[in-house]
């Protein structure tokens, strides 16, 4: 959102105007859908298993 050299404005008619709330809300809806699908698919178990066992790579011994 650089200043438009013609109008010297940072206002973006699409991102700040019409779609100011549409885009983030769409993203939030998608994000919630992704999280729900990830939990349903058992992905959360992979995260949990990794997080509760010492990650040897993280601590530099892996």
């Amino acid at each position: 959102m650089k200043k438009n050299s013609k109008t010297n404005s940072t206002y973006n008619h699409i991102l700040d105007g019409k779609f100011r709330f549409v885009l983030p809300i769409l993203l939030i809806v998608f994000a919630i859908g992704f999280i729900a699908y990830g939990i349903h698919d058992g992905e959360i178990t992979a995260v949990f298993n990794k997080a509760i066992n010492l990650c040897r790579e993280c601590v530099g011994i892996g």
Binding site: Y11, D16, R20, L27, G38, E43, A51, L54, C58, V59
Partner: protein
């Protein structure tokens, strides 16, 4: 340009706060929020005492910032570590194999798309963008504190030096190569964690290995610690060196890891332009004086690019603007009055 005697409202007869005081106050509030959040999400004290990590159900949930899940105090999972852990499950050599337990032939996707972790990062990004970097990330806080260490002026590096702009792209390369492509192709290595992440070394490796060495560890059959310095190898020294460079650079310049390396900051940066929480310029007030750009330690020209990918939403520019032209929040951004040039399509 601001001076110590600049006031917020010169026509107001009440005692006025100088811009410097407002900036100090903003910084103190931010520091308090950062500290409180970091302590809250790393409050498993037993881990620090026994040299072990938390294994409870909260570890299923990601934390918003760069917070190693191998930190003895960590209550949640690091999103970048979790993302690699899920991608590491991919098996590009086969899409079909026999399930050991059931004996049936099962088909699994060749590549995993990390729905849960990406959804989580997307949710936070869509709500507040890089606000997380300034307020909710422990590694951001550590770099902020390191940068407070006094140093002769000639040793301090200000943003905008030669190569600064180009180096900022490095974090996107690291995100694609070390966090996504390599863990997807060469399972089961979390490449970013293994070869780069200084946060894992500082928050996880050093405390765990030190407590394990001092108080005894399972490997040596002498205590409860889960590792010790006896296990240190070549990757330990590689990661320790990266950590040392990060610490030295953080004293010399503001948040080098966030500017050039962090893949999580790179992801959040894409949301700055579209997140619900955003910055904007009230163009009826802005005089283009440039005071905001001057104070920004991330090198952002706030009055020209209020939603720059590099802006961490620390609020320093907002506090420094002598005309209160910088707005932040969830509200609708005010459309500037149509200029004559716009009206007649010039």
């Amino acid at each position: 340009m601001e001076t110590k005697n600049d006031t917020l409202n010169s026509s107001n007869a009440k005692p006025k706060r100088t811009i410097m005081q407002i900036r100090k106050r903003t910084e103190r509030i931010r520091l308090a929020i950062q500290a409180a959040f970091s302590i809250l999400t790393n409050s498993y004290v037993v881990g620090f005492i026994r040299g072990t990590i938390y294994k409870g159900p909260l570890k299923q949930i990601c934390v918003p910032g760069m917070n190693c899940y191998s930190c003895p105090g960590a209550l949640g999972a690091c999103p970048i570590g979790a993302l690699q852990a899920v991608l590491n499950q991919s098996d590009y050599t086969k899409g079909v194999w026999t399930d050991q337990a059931s004996g049936f032939t099962v088909t699994k996707p060749l590549y995993y798309f990390a729905f849960y972790v990406i959804g989580f990062i997307m949710l936070l990004g869509a709500v507040c963008g890089r606000f997380i970097c300034a307020f909710l990330c422990p590694f951001g806080l550590i770099q902020d504190l390191l940068h407070k260490i006094p140093l002769p002026k000639k040793l301090k590096i200000k943003p905008g030096f030669k190569g600064d702009k180009q180096l900022r792209y490095l974090k996107y390369v690291i995100l694609v190569v070390m966090v996504i492509v390599l863990p997807l192709l060469y399972a089961p290595d979390p490449f970013f964690c293994k070869y780069i992440c200084p946060s894992g070394m500082l928050l996880g490796g050093i405390p765990l290995m030190t407590v394990g060495s001092l108080g005894g560890n399972i490997a040596a059959g002498t205590g409860v610690g889960i590792t010790s310095w006896a296990e240190a190898g070549s990757t330990t020294w590689l990661k320790l060196s990266i950590l040392a460079v990060t610490i030295i650079l953080s004293i010399m310049m503001y948040r080098p890891f966030c500017k050039y390396i962090c893949p999580l900051g790179a992801i959040y940066s894409f949301f700055n332009k579209v997140s619900l929480y955003r910055y904007s310029i009230d163009e009826s007030k802005c005089t283009d004086c440039g005071a905001c750009s001057k104070v920004c330690k991330m090198g952002v020209d706030m009055h020209k690019t209020p939603n720059s990918l590099e802006c961490i939403r620390c609020g320093d520019c907002k506090a420094a603007c002598p005309h209160q032209a910088i707005c932040s929040g969830f509200k609708t951004i005010k459309r500037p009055a149509i200029t004559e040039a716009e009206k007649y399509g010039q």
